[in-house]
Each structure stands twice: as C-alpha cells, then as structure tokens.
C-alpha cells in the first residue's frame, strides 16, 4: 500500500492552490488599480469625455441706422470623430448615401485633419438641411462616430447688397492654418476672408467656449458635464446707410461698375457698391465646388471690388486736377481763353475734341462745364506732366486712400520720373496731351476720384474713407470709435477753389453743362462727367466707353461727395450722373424729412 496517499495531503494542496490564486489576483489588481490606477482612470475618462467646441457667435454688423447687415443664425453642422469610427467604410459610405456629399470629399476632410488627435471631431458638412439631420439621426446606430452640432452660421440678410463691403466668412484652409496670424485657430473654424469680415476679424470673432460631454462607446452624447460659455464677438456699426446703399445697388443692378458716397467732412462711407456682386451667404454655408467655380471663373469678376480695386482711365474727370494746378500756379486765370475748333494739332498728331464743331473761345468755366478737350490740351501742355503729377499726388491720386477694406489698389498718375524708372525712356510731351483729358497712362480707382470730389468740396482737405463707425462690445460698450483721420490738407487760394467749384456747379446746373439732365430741384449738386475711351485688346472690336461722374453736394456747403463708374456704360452724363442724382436726392430728402420732423 505504498501508493496510498493520505487524503489530508490533497487538502493541503488545495489550500496551497487557493493561496497562490489569491496572491496572483491581488498582485494583478494591485498593479492595475493602485500602480496603474491613475493612468487607467485617465484612459477611462478619455474614453467617455469629449471636449466639444461651442462656437462663439460672430459680432453683428449694423448699418448707420441699426439695420442688421450681417448676423448669425443656428445651423446644423455634421462632424465625424475618427476615434469613434468602428468600421471606416461603413461610416463613410453610409454618410455618402444619406446626405448629399461625395465619398472622396469626406475622405479628403478626414485626411486633412489627420494631424489632430483622433478624438478631435472633423467637420464634414456645414449647414445641412433638416431633412439630412433627420436621416442622419435615424441612422446614428449604423454611423458610429458621426455627430451633429448646432452652431452659429453667418447670415447676410441683404444678400448681394454691400457684399464687397461686408465680405464673407469661410472655412479656414490648410495654408492659413499653418500661418502665424491664425495660430489659435483649428480646422473647421470660419474666418473672415474678404471685406470687413476680414479686416475686423479680430474684433468680430468671439472666444469659443467648450463643452465637456460624456459619450458612449459609439460616440453618442449621453450627458453634458460642464460648459464654458462662448463670448460673442464685438459688433460693428457702419457709416453705411442701407437705404442709400439699396438705391445705389438698384441703380447699378444690371450694370458693371461701382459707386461710392462719402461724407466730405469725415470720410465716412455712406454707400459703396460694386457690381456685379456675389452672395456672401453661399460662402458661409461652406461653398460648394460648383459655386466656387462659378464665382472665380466668371468673366465679369464679381469678387472684385471695383471701387477700390478697379483701375480705369478717369477721362474728363481728371480735368479738375489740371484746372486746380493751372489756376494755382497762375497759368490760367478766369479769363484765359483758348480757341477750340474741334481739334488740337500737336507734333505730328491731331487730338480731337469730343465736340466735332469745336467750342470756339473757351475760358476755364466753360472748359469745365462743357468739358472742352482742346482747352485742357492747351492747359496740360503748358503745365507739363510733372506739375500735373504733383497736383494729383497732393490730392492723393495714385496713392492708397486707406479705406478700412482689404485689398485696396492704388491708381497711377504718370510723371517723367516714373516713365524713366519703369520704361527707361524720357517723357514725351505728346503723352501729356492724352493725360490732360484723363487718357493714356492715367489709371485711377473710383474711390480715388471720390476723394478728388471731396478735395474740391472741402477746399483741399480730405479724410481717410472709413466704413466702420464704431466697434461695440456685446454688452453695448463702445470699444473703439473711429474719429476722422485727415488724409490731405492742401492750402489752395480761395479763388482757385471757387473757380473750380463754380465750374463743377455749372456742369450740373447750367443748361450747357454736361450733366444738366441730372440737376436736382431743391438742392444744387456739383459734379464732373467723364467718358473714358477704352483701348480694346482685340483689334476692330470697340468696347464701350467708361462712364464717370464725380459729384459733391450741396454745391454751396458740401457735405457729401460721390463717385460713380459704369464700365463700358457710354457717356458719363447720361449713365453715371443720374445715379449720383438718385443718391444725392435721397440723402437730402431724408435729411429734410428729419429736419421737418424736428420742427413741426
């Protein structure tokens, strides 16, 4: 019986096994719960807690009278959190099937955000329709990782109106993300890309809040743990008067061109129109590929702000510059006459006056009123290009006006020095003849010419055009008020200014004036027409002339100045002046009404 094993021995083995078991379990638990406990706790928190951005509403943009020009409305945006995707193809294909978006587009967006942690939700589509929201929500279980957020979206109630002033917001792109100026932005953020939205980005943009939410294993929000409320952006109050803006927009609706109205005493921009226009709402929804293509390939360049970026030959409007200089230096006085027979031979060329039969003997007043070309050929030749340039320069022509919009371009007024520098050739006097009537190498923007009107109206003083009047915090406290900034302050002899002013008054108010058709009954408007010939790039094809009109009113004590340009519109007198008339009439109609209301 040697193989007999006493049963007690077996129980000892059992006890030993129990002890070993409990030891193994406890060591492991000690390791997991005590040694690695904090790390595991962190992992479980990461599992369940998602930090979601609460997008701050952008500041509201108001016009002068408090009408909302840009605000925010709630929209549904769809996100995908890569970490919560279980089966990549299931989620991506499912989404592509449910909502109107390409599979590649989803993959591209996810790829673009690959540098961010996988728990970072990637915006796939902005402003999805209620229909799409319902479809996605109904299929959430089959779309792990997909979530819908309600976020503010930029809204422009006036659509295409004042679009170039307001600009638009759009999703930040990867290059902008890399640049220093946008270092505290993240993918999916909307930034101002154009117009005021861009220029005042730092004011309009609020401080995004944060929401810590608990999600379950398929990424569904279960509850909100805490919220850091976002701080809305600051509001802008503009100098723009939407009533005037709307009238000007309508007047230019089917045309190409631009128009700007300024307060002469402050530089405040009352209206700024550039046509054709675009709808900024399309950008803030996350512009579709087709819309972007349409807007960027459109030959009429709707995204160009013609008022500050379009450079055109100023035509006869430029004669004002010559008149000012010639009177100032004494080449002309009120009685200096030149004979106009309808043409002006110079060198081996003959320069024509617009009036075939000629104007006869013309002095400065008739020269301006009837816009006699021959008169100004004579003046120009006597002044010489450099004195013309000096005058233009002191008015601010050929220089940036400093308006608070991005992308302003400066015009060009040539000088002999400029020609030498640019072409290495001397200036020929014959060129001065063309420049005298605003043709040739003179290229100016409508806003520069509006400044010219202000210069005359204000007798040598101009202010930097300013669109934003003040920046106001969400609580209503003014953060920044823009006081007028003087741009030029040129001392001119009283009689010089008066002569030019009288001439400009005559343009509109004398029967022989080029803009007599646009005279206004109860108020005197002063102005100057311009009809600039356009050299066609294609031979044999004649493009219509650019129609210009600059004006200020009232003639006696000016407070507004206007510049209207209609590309290839024809005559300044018949196309552009009526638009200035509408603006002036309405500005003063409202002013009169206010006065009447105050004194019953």
């Amino acid at each position: 019986m040697k193989e007999e094993t006493p049963p007690l021995n077996k129980y000892k083995w059992c006890r030993l096994i129990l002890i070993i078991t409990i030891a193994v379990l406890l060591i492991r638990l000690w390791d997991l719960q005590i040694m690695k406990g904090s790390e595991m706790r962190k992992l479980s928190e990461q599992n369940r807690i998602r930090i979601k951005k609460v997008v701050a509403p952008r500041g509201v943009i108001y016009d002068k009278t408090g009408k909302v020009m840009a605000d925010t409305r709630p929209s549904f945006n769809m996100y995908v959190t890569p970490e919560d995707i279980k089966d990549f193809n299931q989620t991506v294909d499912g989404l592509a099937r449910l909502i109107n978006i390409d599979r590649e587009e989803i993959v591209d967006k996810l790829k673009a955000a690959s540098g961010f942690p996988p728990s970072f939700p990637v915006k796939i589509k902005s402003d999805i329709s209620m229909d799409e929201v319902a479809k996605v929500e109904a299929n959430r279980v089959y779309l792990p990782g997909v979530s819908i957020q309600i976020e503010p979206k930029r809204n422009y109630p006036y659509g295409k109106m004042a679009a170039h002033v307001l600009g638009y917001v759009s999703e930040i792109n990867s290059e902008e993300l890399k640049s220093k100026g946008y270092k505290d932005y993240s993918p999916g953020d909307f930034i101002g890309k154009y117009g005021l939205e861009r220029n005042y980005e730092n004011y309009l943009r609020g401080v995004d809040g944060e929401k810590r939410v608990e999600v379950d294993a398929i990424g569904r929000e279960v509850r909100t743990l805490d919220v850091k409320e976002p701080i809305p952006g600051n509001n802008l109050y503009l100098n723009i008067d939407m009533e005037i803006q709307t009238l000007a927009e309508k007047a230019l609706e089917s045309k190409k061109g631009g128009c700007i109205a300024l307060e002469t005493k402050t530089g405040a921009v009352i209206a700024l129109v550039s046509r054709p226009s675009f709808d900024p709402n399309k950008f803030s929804a996350g512009i579709t590929k087709e819309d972007w293509k349409e807007v960027t390939t459109d030959k009429t360049h709707p995204l160009q702000n013609r008022v500050i970026q379009g450079r055109y030959p100023p035509g006869s409007v430029f004669k004002i510059v010559l008149a000012l200089k010639a009177l100032d230096v004494g080449i002309l006085n009120e009685r200096t006459n030149f004979l106009c027979r309808g043409s002006f031979p110079f060198g081996n060329r003959v320069f024509k006056c617009w009036k075939k039969g000629g104007h006869g003997n013309v002095a400065i007043h008739r020269g301006i009123v009837e816009s006699c070309d021959v008169f100004f050929y004579n003046v120009g030749v006597r002044l010489g290009i450099d004195r013309i340039h000096a005058m233009a320069d002191s008015i601010g022509l050929g220089k940036l006006t400093g308006i608070d919009l991005p992308g302003e371009k400066q015009g060009l007024v040539p000088s002999s020095e400029w020609k030498k520098k640019t072409f290495g050739e001397p200036w020929y006097e014959g060129e001065t003849v063309s420049v005298s009537i605003g043709q040739g190498a003179v290229w100016l923007t409508p806003i520069e010419l509006a400044q010219l009107a202000s210069f005359v109206a204000n007798e040598g003083v101009t202010f930097t055009p300013q669109i934003v009047n003040r920046i106001v915090s969400p609580e209503g406290k003014a953060i920044k008020v823009f006081d007028p900034v003087m741009n030029t302050n040129v001392k001119l002899k009283k009689e010089v200014i008066n002569t030019v002013k009288e001439g400009m008054k005559g343009v509109v108010n004398e029967p022989s004036g080029t803009a007599y058709g646009s005279r206004i009954q109860n108020i005197n408007m002063s102005g100057k027409t311009g009809t600039a010939q356009v050299a066609s790039l294609e031979k044999g094809k004649h493009l219509g002339d650019h129609a210009w009109f600059i004006a200020f009113a009232p003639a006696e004590a000016p407070s507004i100045s206007i510049c209207v340009l209609v590309e290839h519109g024809g005559h300044g007198s018949s196309v552009s002046a009526p638009i200035a008339k509408i603006i002036t009439e309405n500005i003063y109609k409202t002013k009169v009404e206010i006065k009447e209301a105050k004194n019953p």
Binding site: M1, E3, E4, T5, P7, L8, K10, Y11, C14, R15, I17, L18, T21, I22, V24, L25, L26, R28, L29, W30, L32, Q33, I34, K36, G37, S38, E39, M40, R41, L43, S44, E45, N47, R48, K86, E214, V215, D216, A217, I218, V222, R223
Partner: protein, 369 residues
C-alpha cells in the same frame, strides 16, 4: 426514502448559507448597476435573476430532503437526461449571439450545459467513490470511462459553441480524478495528453473567432477593434476603479457600453470599477472563504462519496471564479464563463444553488452512521 430528520436541519451549514447569500446579495446589487444606464434601468434582468433565485431555493429544499447517496445512485438518469438536453440544444436550440446554447421549454429559456456541471460531478463521484474508499489509485482502465463520460458532453458543448463551459467540465473531471488518486503511469499519460491538447484544440476543434481570442490575449493590440479592444476596455474598467472605486452606479466604462457582456461574463469589470481594490478584496475573500468551506465539507463528509461530490462542487466554483476574474483582468483569454452568484443568468444561478443544496445535503449528514 427517509424522512428528513429535525436533527439534520440543526446540522445545516449556516456558514455556507450566509456566505452564499452574501455573494448573491452583492451579485444582485452589482447587477442593478450593470443593467442600468445613467438615466434608466431595466428591472427585467433583476426580476429574472430573483425568480431564478427562488427556483434555486426551492430546489435546495427538494435536494436536502433526499439523502445525497440516493441522489447519486440515480445520477445515471440525471446524466442521461442532461445529455439529451445538450443534444436537443444542437437540434432545436435558440441562436443568440451566434451560438446555440439555450433551449426553450414552456417559455422558459435555459442552458442545459450549466446543469451538466453538478450532474457530472455526482455521476463521476458515484462511479469512483469505491476506488477512493479502498484507496486504489486509478489506472488507465479506471479513468477511461470517466473521461469518456466527460468528453462526450464536453465535445457537444464545444459544438454549440460554448468553450467556457466545456473547459470547466473537463477541468472538473481532471480535478476529481486527481482527488480520487491516480497511478504514476496515469499521471504521466494525462500530463502528456495535457501537453498535446493545446495543439489538438488549435488544429481541430477551435473556431477562427476562438483562435482570435487567444491571439489577442497574447498580443492585446493584435485586434484593437475586436476582442483585444474588449479585453483592453475591461482592464481599463477594473484599473480605473483605483483604491476605493468610482462608487456604486458610477462606473462609466460599462454604463457607456465600452464593455460587451458586462452583465454576464465581464461582470467583474463592473464591480472592480465601482468598488475598486478594497471592494475586490472583500469579494475575493467571500469567494475564497466559500470555496474553503466547500473543501471543509469535503473533508468532514460522512463518506468518500460525499467527499468527492463536495470536492467536485468546490472545483467548479473555484475554476469559474478564477478563470472569470483572470479573464477580466487580462490574465486569461476571453472565454464565456459566468462568475458564480454574481453574473446574470438564470441557469447559472440555479446550478450554483443546486450545488449549494448538494453541499448542504452532504454537510448535514456528516454525523450519519
């Protein structure tokens, strides 16, 4: 058949009863947390578990009424009917979660493989107790029948597939054989078979998903979205409990559905997350004390039959407890084994209570002559 003696009731093992009740109470509390989200709970699970508990208690009374020797003498018929049900499962079983493990009779769903565990213990004990009494170490011939009787249901259960239960049955059989006593040659044979079995299992018996579980156990990152993911989340749940736990009803890992089967096979993750290291020690202590008490019953049993049966029951509880917890803390591959008294599942709970009934039966008749 003998009538129940009042003196026998006096000898009821109250230690075992209270220990078992404590485990069950913890189980129910834990199940309430495991089956409810942060907003709503389902009393459906709790009701079913309580009904199973009631059925189990009734069965305990039935079981202690009859002498365990009488029950063991009829174990052949119990074994055959359990086997019949296991075959029936494969024929008319209900499919749930990709496996046929349940059978529905009169609207009650149950898992016959669970009942096979104590029945097999009874049957094997009945076949082997004479050898033990006579202190004859088991030779090859002696073990062939017990092994056949074990492997037959085990292979059928693997077919369901329910690897966990099959593993428990086979290991329990081996424990009983060891307890009865083996010849050295038999040891050698069993050990060599044991060494070969992983290969045989891997090559011929295991399904691809079961292989995947083993692979993801060896390398947790091999399958981060499937079994590896679950194993990892289970580990995170237990670990995140830290020293004192996140608090009752406050376990985020299971409430937010990061852990599959958290009310059945992964129930320990719920407990570990909410009660932490301290709670786990208490739970372990209750289990060890329960198993220890089972062994005590085995040791003090009136005869070798009772001794073997009690040891078999102890083995089942020990194996299920150990493997289940090891799996939750990633020291064993994922297999479907319920944690006795704690996991949700009527069949499992009834089986455990039947086992307790048999243990009480043995212990109360220990002074019998």
């Amino acid at each position: 058949m003998m009538r129940i003696d009042k003196r026998r009731l006096y000898h009821l093992d109250w230690y075992l009863i209270i220990n078992g009740l404590a485990l069950f109470a913890i189980g129910i509390l834990n199940l309430i947390s495991a089956t409810s989200s942060f907003y709503s709970g389902s009393y459906n699970y709790i009701m079913k578990q309580l009904i199973a508990f009631l059925i189990g208690i009734i069965l305990i009374f039935v079981i202690i009424y009859y002498d365990y020797r009488v029950i063991a003498s009829h174990s052949k018929w119990l074994y055959l009917s359990a086997l019949l049900f296991i075959v029936l499962v494969l024929v008319i079983g209900m499919i749930a979660g990709g496996a046929k493990r349940w059978i529905s009779i009169l609207g009650i769903n149950f898992q016959p493989s669970e009942f096979m565990k104590p029945i097999l213990v009874l049957y094997l004990a009945n076949k082997l107790y004479e050898k033990k009494r006579d202190n004859i170490p088991l030779g090859l011939k002696d073990i062939s029948l017990p092994i056949f009787l074990t492997m037959l249901p085990a292979i059928l259960i693997v077919k369901q597939p329910d690897l966990g239960t099959a593993v428990i049955i086979v290991l329990t059989c081996l424990a009983i054989l060891w307890f009865v006593g083996l010849k050295k040659s038999t040891y050698t044979l069993l050990i060599s078979i044991g060494a070969l079995s992983p290969f045989i299992l891997w090559e011929y018996l295991m399904k691809p998903y079961q292989k995947m579980r083993i692979l993801s156990f060896i390398n947790i990152d091999a399958d981060p979205s499937g079994f590896g993911y679950h194993a990892k989340q289970a580990m995170i749940a237990v670990g995140s409990g830290k020293f004192l736990g996140k608090g009752y009803m406050a376990g985020t890992q299971h409430k937010l559905q990061f852990i599959p089967e958290h009310h059945t096979d992964f129930i320990f993750t719920v407990f570990g997350e909410e009660w932490g290291f301290v709670g786990s020690i208490v739970l372990f202590a209750l289990f060890i004390s329960f198993i220890y008490r089972c062994l005590k019953i085995s040791q003090t049993a009136h005869d070798e039959l009772g001794s073997i049966i009690a040891f078999g029951m102890a083995s089942i509880i020990y194996l299920q407890f150990t493997i289940n917890v090891l799996m939750a803390i990633h020291l064993a591959p994922v297999v479907g084994i319920p944690l006795p008294f704690i996991s949700y599942g009527g069949s499992s709970l009834v089986t455990m209570l039947v086992s307790v009934g048999i243990l009480l039966n043995i212990s109360m008749r220990r002074y019998m002559f």
